[in-house]
Every structure is written in structure tokens, then in C-alpha cells.
Symmetry: none
Subunit: 366 residues, 4 copies
Amino acid sequence: MPDSYVRMGIIGVGSWATLGHMNFYRKHPKAKLVAICDVVAERAEEAARQFGAESVTTDYQELVARSEIDAVDIVTPNLMHAPVALAALQAGKHVICEKPIAMNYQEALSMAEAARQAGVVNAINFVYRCNPAAQFAHHLVQAGYLGRIYHVNGYYLQSWLVDRQVPLVWRLQKEMTGSGVLGDLGSHLIDLAEWITGERIKTVMADMQTFVQERPLLDGSGLGRVTVDDAANFLARFENGAMGTFSTTRYASGRRNHQALEIYGEQGAIAYSVEDIDQIQAALGPAYVKEQVMTPMPVPRRFKSADDSDYFSRQNRGGQIHAFIEAILAGKQMVPSFEDGLHNQEVMEALEISARERRWVDLPLT
Amino acid sequence: MPDSYVRMGIIGVGSWATLGHMNFYRKHPKAKLVAICDVVAERAEEAARQFGAESVTTDYQELVARSEIDAVDIVTPNLMHAPVALAALQAGKHVICEKPIAMNYQEALSMAEAARQAGVVNAINFVYRCNPAAQFAHHLVQAGYLGRIYHVNGYYLQSWLVDRQVPLVWRLQKEMTGSGVLGDLGSHLIDLAEWITGERIKTVMADMQTFVQERPLLDGSGLGRVTVDDAANFLARFENGAMGTFSTTRYASGRRNHQALEIYGEQGAIAYSVEDIDQIQAALGPAYVKEQVMTPMPVPRRFKSADDSDYFSRQNRGGQIHAFIEAILAGKQMVPSFEDGLHNQEVMEALEISARERRWVDLPLT
Amino acid sequence: MPDSYVRMGIIGVGSWATLGHMNFYRKHPKAKLVAICDVVAERAEEAARQFGAESVTTDYQELVARSEIDAVDIVTPNLMHAPVALAALQAGKHVICEKPIAMNYQEALSMAEAARQAGVVNAINFVYRCNPAAQFAHHLVQAGYLGRIYHVNGYYLQSWLVDRQVPLVWRLQKEMTGSGVLGDLGSHLIDLAEWITGERIKTVMADMQTFVQERPLLDGSGLGRVTVDDAANFLARFENGAMGTFSTTRYASGRRNHQALEIYGEQGAIAYSVEDIDQIQAALGPAYVKEQVMTPMPVPRRFKSADDSDYFSRQNRGGQIHAFIEAILAGKQMVPSFEDGLHNQEVMEALEISARERRWVDLPLT
Amino acid sequence: MPDSYVRMGIIGVGSWATLGHMNFYRKHPKAKLVAICDVVAERAEEAARQFGAESVTTDYQELVARSEIDAVDIVTPNLMHAPVALAALQAGKHVICEKPIAMNYQEALSMAEAARQAGVVNAINFVYRCNPAAQFAHHLVQAGYLGRIYHVNGYYLQSWLVDRQVPLVWRLQKEMTGSGVLGDLGSHLIDLAEWITGERIKTVMADMQTFVQERPLLDGSGLGRVTVDDAANFLARFENGAMGTFSTTRYASGRRNHQALEIYGEQGAIAYSVEDIDQIQAALGPAYVKEQVMTPMPVPRRFKSADDSDYFSRQNRGGQIHAFIEAILAGKQMVPSFEDGLHNQEVMEALEISARERRWVDLPLT
């Protein structure tokens, strides 16, 4: 058990790791980035120089075996989530993993099982739960201000694939990523909808589509096949009977990262957007419901990160990592854990079945 | 054929007729309100005094038979749309009818057939097509600024039923109205989505629900059964492959009349809201798509009503009636006609089948 | 050549130095403020205590001679720009100088020549080029979204002299400052107009005026003569034929620091204001040009400073100093350099001749 | 002298006449449109049917000779202003004429002289003086809230010529219109600047340009030469020493009708825009001047037209015609008269000389 700080090993040196996680570790008073692993040695070495890590490797097995490491941060493409997490858990390391937890439901089941057996702190990095406006939305619903929930509608829209010249990156290859926009954006939207409302989805109907079938290969040698979904829309019913409509896409011109949720209850309503972390729209209580008016409601300071020195901090993107470090030092499990990652993957599996078989699919999967 | 103005008979004296239609006729230089029919004689008489109509009756058969009437405006509950329209068409009168056109698809088929045979001007009053922002949205899509359409997402949300004490009005009784929120709000949303994009829906999947099963009877004698849908969500695919998600409800606290449509295409996007008739949100062309930004775009003056003396005028709620009058004087058919009303009813029929049988339903119905 | 950070000497301890530059050096990971020079010893000493500099002096010759200094930052009144810069260049120091570069064109010529011969990094601190909205405006024009430029109109308006009791500070004395509002505000406006459009001014016509001829002396001993311009308006033609109108003044009541530029091209237009660093107004592409509408366009995150902890940072006022430090460490020249400062001074010289001789003056001056 | 209403003859049936003037006469209780003249007989006849005029003609001499006409409204292209006005004045009719008053200064002189001798009511239709926000701006300056005026800056920008396919309409032919953007837009801007401030321009320096030299002929037979200015910028000094910069163009992409004036005085400032008739921006008095802040100031109701039933009314575009009718019925001269039109033309003549000879030109012309 670490005493006053947690010694971290990170696996996967992409832009999230560089711009976010490693920068976060450098500034965090209770974390120390000790080791970096990436399949490209130069990338690991450059990051080590920039962020002051002691050791680098291209072999994740080697990293998770090191005794001077307390915890592992998995920031690889989805393909490597399961193998790395299983190895780290077996080595008795605490693990935090990017979402979606796995390539598919089967992998996720084995990861959650391994985490249960390892008894270490295990976390799934649903960053948007820590967004100040999302925290406030969660608080308002949990405090009961909305009463019975009737409707949960959500959009998570991006536009980066609308340009047909965007090449066939790993996020477009099923063997690297498991699913497309569903695992990338849908995963967040499902988690937020369930976490903010406190209601689980119990049945789903999905419609998925790949708009552009082929894209330029990264090596310039021609075109390659897109093997994941470009867009995923779905209907849902929650356990309490609430109805949901959701749309996720990478083809929404004009939208950089438009994540929005509207929740309507018998006594009130809130509308949250990731683009506005300083306020939500709300109608809470008889005066607003009877007057039928939603007004902006500033997010109280207590839901905001103390450190707003940059965009990552202002959005509180490091919030889950912070909670992970605190949990390790306190010797307690945290939420969201691998169990939450597993449930999230289960909903996505149901959506994939629904889209493929064109029918409603109930949860939990049996 | 009327010479310089159209002599109108109106059937049904509810709030739309009183606040909207009859006031509109009084101000319109080419229309004259001649006769008023309502099942409640006092209501018809009071309206005749207020708006200067010559004759009143409680029998619509009598009204449509009058030779001094050129055209009939049907503003009754849905139950009476078909019988009144068929009678008026048989009497050779021009007819404009509120939406939805009928109680169901079968009725709508007979009305469209009768209209074809009568050869008179027949119109379905989809008022929102004349909203300045909707006109502008239609113009921008039709001018090609969006390119291939990928997504059409829409909300039509109201909140008036969230209060459980709201009584069992005719809009909640299937035998009076045919359907609930679907015919009331969904009808508009379907029409706008298809009209603005110029694409027809070819397959649908719906989820409908009645949240509050019983409500106070109007006579105070206890509770009565709500026999229509309170909320209707649906997924859709359009003919060109575009995907749609739609949510309609009367249980969205904080929303008085929140009708919003977002349309995303390969070269641009627009977001329209009925609450803001002076601007839309848009990203049109490379600068905006590449920079991933939507900005407000003022609705040009040419899409606005010349008469903005009140809310009804500013929203151009009388726009279809104006077009109807002009069409009669010009001796031409207008759009949207009974055919458009029939197609709209067909989509709703598909949605009801889908919700009932929990399966995708293709259009046209065979 | 410094290894990992640059050792700075600063000359001139006014408000810009105190609130901006020295604070910036304290936070910058690759700069260290080593020495401070000011003619008032107490001012230098107080600054050294506050910002942790090792040595102070009242003699700039002594400062530029010190071997432990890599670079010199000139923040004095304009009178001292040339002598200090020439001494620093002769001593082989890198130099960054406030704008305008000199008292007049002749001085600027000698400074640019000395910089060429010294072969060190030399920079002119046109801070507004680093304003996020200006960066974005520059990007949009350079990306070609505006097409051929027709019009460039600009205002740079302040109001601090509208009060006749404001005393005869150094900025109002020609022997200290060279020119009045022209060098102070006009210098920025000319630089921004040319840099954003990428077009040089080729002919000018100016009108200058001193509204209040006498002001209280700082020592309270009566009135002294204002010897510089209070306002300077001018017309311009750019190399590509574009037309410009510009107004600069210190007598615009209600305007604290109103710097605004509008650029109109055949395919689009943008309007930039220093007061709004988060958005510009724009009409880019056929949809906007045909519809004749300008809309707000948010400045993308990539044009913003990573550090927005205060106003100076949010405006990115330290951006040029940051570029200067990076250029020294990389061993490369930067833009804008003394050459750019010279060109800027040449345009101002042409404006002064034009105002004095009441005629159009062509550039370059022969 | 008419008793209770004025019998009007209108000459020139273009869009201003149709959409504005004749509609205005129909609604005005003290005016009656009696006769219409246009060189195209069908156009005059169609207008007579629409607006209920008794007689039509293609010969303006015939119209001005009719005894049943009290006053003449000249809405022709500029070419016909002088001949029609002179004929009407000779026939003893009251005359209101569109701006600019004439093709050139010489014509304007003869018209003002004829008006003086005729002793009838003569008016120049500077419509923007009646805009509610302009009225309020005029009031604030005249009430002395700004103190000594230092700066008057103005833009009048349109974009309709930015499309090279816009054909060679009469407004682009010198023999039909006298001048281009200067007479069309500059005329208004000069009048507003002088009227609102109460200060006359005493010297000017102009820069004019024709960006697109040839445009498609209206008959499709090829290209024809544009013989007027596309853009006209100018500097000015007013009698009290105030300085002005002005830009007028038809090549400002994104601007439909952007007319804006900023006036800065020792004790306050106002900024007016024709696009916002409900408020101006202002800093009036010590609190605002010392705090250096401009804030929106609503236009009081008393400056607004009672009739805001359409855009023409809301902008009070009929205000000068209303004043003309009232002046005739009251037997008094009105402002602005032909004398004001003459002065306006004189300033434009000075601007044309200045642009041609590239020198400052003083007023009055000798």
C-alpha cells in the first residue's frame, strides 16, 4: 500500500495520455508517473523525457510486473484493454481503464470477474461524470427535484468523419476497437443517462449505419473497408418506465463534441450540455413547471474543479483519475468500477443485437 | 367561382377558431366570414356577433349546402373531419381542414379520393410550414446548402399533461381524436421533417406510452380512462438513407411548445426551433463544417409575414389559409393538399402498427 | 546559447513591465528574469524584490554588458528604444522591443540594419497578433475563405484624454514618444490590417489633429504644450487594390480599448474586435454571402492560450515573448522581427508626411 | 389649398413606389393617390388597379398639369428628378423628391432656385431621418448630452454587387443615376451625419473605385461598362473641427443594409445602427465616460411610429411623406427641403472632385 503517493505506470501514449493523463500526474501532489509503455519505443521515450518518468518499455507484461509500480492506467486502443487489465490484475496492481471497457461483452465479463478476485481498486474512466454541469445535474436528480422521470433524451454528435478524406484510423477498424460510434460516444451517453437519473435501461431498439464504406488507408496505398458503425440511434425504456431517444454520430456537420441530455420528470426538468460547464437549463418545482419555462441555472462552485488552469482541468477530465488515486490511498473501492464498465458494455451488446436482428432486446442479457 | 373575395363558412368554434381563424378572416382583404357552425348554438352565436358573420347553425349539413358559401374551414375535433369534409366536397365547396386529416388511415383514404373527384381546392392546415424559420430552413435545404442529408432529429415537447388534475378532455379520448400526442404533435413533426428535407420516410420503429391512465371526468363525476398515447418516440429511415430520431410528448416539464428539428448533411447543418422565429442555427459550407461550429443565422425578411401585428401573425399561423384563399381566387390547387394529409396519416398508421406489434414497419403501407 | 532556459534582462519598469512582462517571466518554465534596469533605482529594486531578479541597475549600458544575460526586453518610452536596442545588439544579446519600434523612420532603419548584422533573434512585440480572435481572423483569411479582399476598415479608439485634467504625461511629448495616437494605437492597427489580410498598404492619405493643445504639467507648475497628435484618421489602398478607412483616437468617450477590424472579400467577410476574444463575426461562403448575413463564430480552442488564468494570459499578451523565448532556444529567427517593425514605422512616416503636406503618399518611401 | 386631404400624383412605378409610397397613401387618412405616371403604361395601369388611382399616364407633363392634383411625388431614377420637379414646380404643385436630389450640383442649384420662386412645399425624402433610432440620436445630440463633438465615423455597407452576375441595372449607369454608391448610400450617410450632429462638413478627401468594370447587359446581349463608383470612402472635417471617416460600398459581403454612425463628444457618445431601431448604444455623462463603458439605451416610444404593422411602418419609412402632407395642409414649408437636397449634392460634388483630383476640397464650392 503506498504511503503518501501512488506510483503509476501508463500503457498507451496517444493524445489523451499526452495532453491529459501524464500532464495530470505531473501536477497531482499524490501521484508519480514512474513507467511508460508504448509499442512505439520512441513515443514512450519522448513522453518519459517530457513528463519525467524513470523507465520506458514496449512490453506491457514487463511494466505490470515491476514492483515499484502501484497502479496501471490503460490508455490503449480498445483491443488491448482486456489483455493489459488481466495481466495487471494478476500482478496485483490497481487498474484504471479507458472506456469502453472492452471489445465486447464476453471480454468485459472476464475483466470484471478478474477484478473481483484481485480485490484491488479497479476503475473505468467515464470522464464526463466529473464535468461540473453533469455533477450538478446528477445532484439535482438524486435530490429528488424532478420527481418521477418520464423522458430521457440525448444526443452525442461529432462531425470529424463528414470529410470523406479522413483516413482509416484505428477507431474505424472493428478488430482494433470492437465498435464504432457506439463504443466511442454511445458508451458515454448511456453511462451519463443511467448515472444522472439513477435508472437502468431495461430494453432497447437500435438503428445503426455505416455511411461511408471505404476510406483512404493511412499508408496511402489505396482504400480500406470501414468495419464499424458511423451512426447509432436508439430507443430505450428504463426500469421505472421512462422513455429514451438517443442519437450518436460522427457525421453531424457543425458539431465538434455536442453531448446533450434532457431529462423530464413530473416535478421538473433539466437540460445538460457538455459545451456549457458553467450552467444547465432547468425548470424545477411548481413555479417553473406551471409557467412552462426553463431558465439557465449556474453550476455552484462546489461542483467545479479547484484547478481551472486549462481546458482539461476546467472540464475536470482528470476527476476520475483523482478519485482513483484517493481510493488507493484510502484503501477503498471506487465508483465507477469494472462492474459499471461491464454493465455499460452489456447495454451496448444489446444495442448491437437489436440493430442486427431489427428487434427490441431486453436487459440483462441472459 | 368567387370574383374578388372568398365567402367562408367555418365549422367548429374552439380556441383556434376564435383566436386565430375568425380573426384572420376579419382582417383578410379577400375573405369574408359568412357562416358559423357549432354544436353549441350559443358558442356559434357569440362568435357571429364578435366577428360579424351573417348566419349561424348547429347543423354542418345545412352550412355546407348554403349557396352563398364558397369554401369551408373545418376546425372541429378530429372525429368530425371526415364527415364534414365529405359533405362539403359533395356540395362542391373548397375545403381546408385542420390536421391530422382524419381519425385513421382508412378515413384519410376516402377523403383524399373524394377531393380528387370533387376537383375543388382542398388543403390540410399544416400551420408550421409557414413559420418564418421553417420557411427559411426549407429554403436552405432545397437550395442544396446541406448536400446529402445524414441525420434528421426532432423533438416536439409540451407539458400540459404533467399535472394529473388536468381532466379527460376530448384530446385524450380515442373515439374523439383517433390518436393522442402522435396525431396532435407527431403529425406536425413528421410533416416538417419530410417537407424541409424533401425526403420521405420509408421505414419506422415506434415506442408509445400512456403515463397516466385515468383522469378526472369533465363533469366531476369521478375518473375516466385515457385511451390515447401520452408520448410517442420513434426511429426512422428516409428514402435517401438518412436516419431519424423523434420524440413527442405532453409530459416535458418546462416546455410549453418546444418544436425543434436538427438536420445534418454532408456540406452543412441547420437547427430550427419554433420558439425562435427570427433565427435558426446553421453551419453551411466549408468554413463552418471544417471549423465545426454552428452559429445563429437571422431569418431574412422575405420569409416573414408582412403583418406582424400579433403573435398569430408573426408566426404566420394564417399562412396556409391565406394560400387557400389565393388558390381559390386563382383557380389552382395548392400544397399541402388532402394528398399530403393522407401521406401524413399513413406514416402515423405505420407508427401505431410498429408500437403495437413492436417491429419495424415499411412505407408505403400495402 | 542558453541550454534549457533564457536569462532575461528587462529595461523600463512601467505598468506593462510590472503587470505583464515580469509576471510572465516568473511563470514561464523556460525564462528567468535575471536583471532589471530603470532610471529610478527604487522602482527597479521594488520590482526585483517582487519578481526575484538577482541584480538591478539604473544604467542600461551596464545591463546589456552582463555576461549572465542572454536576451533583453525593452519596455521603455519610445525615446530609448533605439539607443538600448543598438547597445544590446552590439553586445550580442537577443532583443525584443515594444512597439512602435522607434521615434521615427530614420531610427528604425538603423535598428533593423544593426539587427541584420548582429544575427541574433530580434522581435517587435505586436501583442495583438497573439489575441485568439486575431489569430483566428488571420487563419480564416489565409485559408482563403474570403477570396479577393475589397475593404479593410478599422477603428482603434480610446477615451483617456477626453478629460482635460489628464496631465502632460510622456506619451503626449514628441521628444519622448515620436508620435501620439498614431504610434501608440495606429501602429497596432496598421500591423493587424496588413498581417491579417497578408496585403501591404501601398498609398495613404491621413488627417491628424491635436484637440487639446495644453495640459497640466506633472509637477503642478502650470500648463505645458501637447506636441503630438490626439487623433489620426486615414484612407489607404492596399497592393491588391483593397480600400481602407481607419480611425484612431484617444477622445472616444465610452471606449476603453476599442480595437476593431472589418474585412470584406468577394467570398466572405469577418469582423474582429479585441473586446471579444471568444468569437468573431463572420459571413463565409455562398450561404452567408447570398443571404447577406454575418453571424458570430466561436474562436476554436486551438487558437487560445493554454493558460487562461488571468486577463493578460487570456488575451495571450505574452504570446510574442513566448515565441521570442522559443526562437532563442531553437536558434531561429522569429516573426514579427525588427524588419516588420521597420515597415510599420515606414507606413507611419508616410501618414505623417501625408497629414503635414495634405496629399497622398506612396509606399515604399524612396 | 386642399381642405382635409392632399391629392397626390406619383411619377415612377418602381419597387419603392409599389411597396412603400403607394401603400402608404392608401393607408394615410389625409392623402389620396389620384394619378400615376410611368413610362411603361402597363406598370402604371397595374398600380392604379392595385391602389385605386383614378388616372394613369405615360407623360409626366400631362400629370403635373392636372388641376385635380395638389402635390407630386417623384420616385423615378435620378435622371428624371430635375425635369419632373421643374415641371411640377412651374405648374405650382407641391413636390417631394427622392434622394439624391439630382444628377449633379448644377441641376440641384436650378431645382432649389425654382422651388424658392414657386413658393410651394418642397421636400427631399431622406427617409432615414425618420428612423426611430436616428430620431433619438438626433434628439440626444441636440439636447447637448455629448458636448463638443470630436469624431463622427460612419459606414453604409451593402453587398448586392459582390456577385459578378448581377446585371448592368440603371443604378450602374452614370447617364441614368449621376453617381454610384455615393449618391445612393453616401447621400444618406452625409445627410444623417450632418443632421444628427447639427454640424456641416467643411472639407473632404475622397477615394472612389469601381471594382468590377463590366457586367452582363439586361437584354442578355453581352457585357456593358459600369460607369459609376462601386465604393466611396472619405475623410471629412466639420465646421466645429470634428473629424470624420466614412465608408460606403456595395461590396461588403454579409451586409444587407448596414448603416451605422458613431458620434463621440467630450461629454458622451452614441452609436446608431439602422439594423436596430429599438435601441442605440450610448455613454452619456460622467459615470459612463469615466467608467469607459457604452451600454444599450432603448429608444423611447415617442420616437417610434404609431403604426408598426409592417417593416416600412416600423422603420417609419413614410415619415417624410407624412410630414410633407402635414406641411401642405398647414400651409408651411418643411425640413428637409430642396435647400437641404442642394447642400447634400454639393458635398457629393466636392467628394467627386476630390477623388478625381486626389486632393482635399473645401465647402461651400465657389
